[in-house]
Symmetry: C2
């Protein structure tokens, strides 16, 4: 396997684009990534598109039609919320294999104004969770938070502080869907969605796209003096567990992926400068502090209390604003957090820059099940 | 890049399975491929599922749940009619890269009794073809046949003979959706769908699944003494062409893919023992004789007249029965023709065996656009 580097990233502001279609948004992000690298579509040897809601609509090919129809291999992948990061991973393997010197991943989604209750693959009439209604995402992540409260004495306020932090971060991200601070009172007093997550503790729906251009070491010399290395790329699915059927295990999948990623990269949580993790709900972010080994079991509440994961803390988490404020257009998310890590490792984070960032971890979890972890280094 | 081998294949009979779901059919094919190799799901390090109609339903993961939930990377791909072959290709790259020693590709589709008129990505209101109705598949491939008639003097009977041949082959394939011979009169007098293709010259709709287990050279020694090598794996998309907008070019895509495949494999059309090509319509098969270089431009009509592509001819095409008779459950097709090539190269084709088969080519084209060519050798 060869080393692989990200040499270009592009992202359109997450938000609402009722007048664009999926492939237009994807093409815009793709062009931005090419411009960022100073490359042309003729340099790209394979395109992988990640999109969930129109997974069979040949968006990779439609994106190529708009950027430049060069006849290269194009394919479409989907993997629940890990759709974009799975597309990135296939593009990564394409270069790592030696088959291609330059590949592009585009993650894109147009969610419109759908509700929060898209249940994902665990819901539906076939499963116990589906029948009980507990397979719905807000319920799953609410319950997981309650379980943490029961076991470790975590409070609703701990979870609410996650939302305050991420909204505060997003003010400095011009591509974030929302860019407004919220107070602890705002969060605690917002409409309850599924205890303990109030409205501001749930990611919004929205549209968006992000793209990344990956290259081999030989090829990138023509394009950049600041390549960002993909130190490891991990994808896992749910292992068999004797879990309580009324409460899907949202933790094991990430724990397994993290263990594998740290081993393969030879980089541990103590070596990370920043983390972009899958805060689809505030409860999820807190649980993932422990799942990713950023702190020990039961210590996540104290971690947020001490401000360790804020910008300026020892391990800033979701300085982009995270899914909670930056937004979560499903297929785009996995590439968007690569965008943030690359931006930070280049020192281009502006007011949200993590000083001296050397290594960043991007984490995405899709129930149903897929978890990706990418560790990138400057 | 490492050499990659197919060590196990599995396929369920194509047909109608209203009482099964997509992941059940996929899991059945997967288990058959494992059994064929004498392997266990614990040997598999990555699973790629190709499915079109439920492309975002996490079928790769659902298949794993049924076979054995080992926590391995699982992902879902779609690429129009080339969905299954694209899944196979991603599984191939996984082993070729050195990342994995064993991967599995499953292609599966449940079409039910939908009509023939699913237009594919070229149809729809946005395009000239869509507005004119010419983007509909039967029209596209009918027109392409008419164009061949105009240029080369090919007759409707030439195309009809393709259907007679493939139905005749299918009688010897127990996994074929249909296993009945049809006469030239039957074909010529059947209901016209889109000139010159009558009903028997159009592939049926149906359900089905196929799977392939791929391994590195080191790993396969535990499992088989008769590995089938993947000599090359090519995927292309539509290049930019100044095509007549009223008549999509169904030829260029295959021509480009074939050129690349022959160059990469160091194997030419003259070295092939058999071909499984994408005969979604009888006209398509005849055009692809030329597109794949099995004969020169304008010679395809004579080729079918002389029986060269029949079982027993010098280059048998679609001895499985082809899409016309074996069936075309979209996502399954690309893996099903790998199944046939592997079966033949092992000498396990029974009454439809191509004597002394040493090299086979599997071709799939998806308008919208994706073309795969895999060349396998014994």
């Amino acid at each position: 396997m060869r080393d692989v580097y990200v040499v270009g990233v592009g992202m359109i502001k997450f938000g609402r684009y009722p007048d664009k279609d999926v492939s237009q948004m994807g093409a815009e992000a793709g062009v931005l990534a090419l411009k960022d690298a100073g490359a042309s579509i003729k340099d790209v040897e394979m395109l992988v598109c990640g999109n969930l809601f129109q997974a069979n609509a040949m968006n990779a090919q439609k994106i190529l039609q708009q950027i430049g129809q060069t006849g290269i291999p194009a394919l479409n992948v989907s993997n629940a919320c890990a759709t974009g990061s799975t597309a990135f991973r296939e593009a990564y393997i394409g270069v790592a294999s030696g088959m291609y010197d330059a590949t592009m991943a585009v993650g894109v989604e147009q969610m419109g104004k759908m509700g929060l209750l898209g249940g994902g693959a665990r819901s539906g009439g076939e499963s116990v969770e589906g029948v009980l209604g507990s397979g719905l995402m807000p319920a799953v992540f609410g319950q997981a938070g309650v379980e943490h409260m029961r076991k470790h004495g975590t409070t609703a306020e701990h979870f609410a502080k996650i939302s305050v932090k991420n909204h505060k971060h997003s003010v400095h991200n011009p591509l974030s869907q929302y860019q407004v601070e919220v107070s602890l009172d705002d969060v605690m007093n917002a409409r309850m969605v599924a205890y303990p997550n109030t409205l501001y503790m749930c990611c919004p729906t929205g549209d968006g796209a992000a793209a990344a251009l990956l290259m081999s070491e030989d090829k990138l010399r023509q394009f950049t003096s600041k390549p960002i290395k993909v130190a490891t790329s991990v994808l896992t699915s749910d292992p068999y567990t004797d879990r309580d059927l009324t409460m899907p295990d949202v933790n094991t999948l990430t724990q397994n992926a993290a263990k594998e990623a740290y081993e393969k990269a030879g980089i541990g949580p103590q070596d990370l400068s920043l983390v972009e993790l899958h805060d689809c709900f505030a409860t999820a972010e807190l649980l993932h502090y422990e799942n990713l080994g950023l702190c020990g079991a039961g210590e996540a509440g104290r971690m947020i209390d001490e401000g360790r994961t804020e910008l300026g803390g020892d391990i800033p988490v979701n300085v982009s604003g995270g899914l909670l404020s930056k937004g979560h257009p499903l297929g785009a998310t996995g590439v968007a957090n690569i965008y943030e890590i690359v931006t930070q490792l280049r020192g281009q984070g502006g007011a949200r820059q993590v000083e001296g960032a050397k290594a960043g971890l991007a984490h995405v979890i899709g129930l149903g099940s897929a978890c990706t972890i990418h560790i990138l280094t400057a």
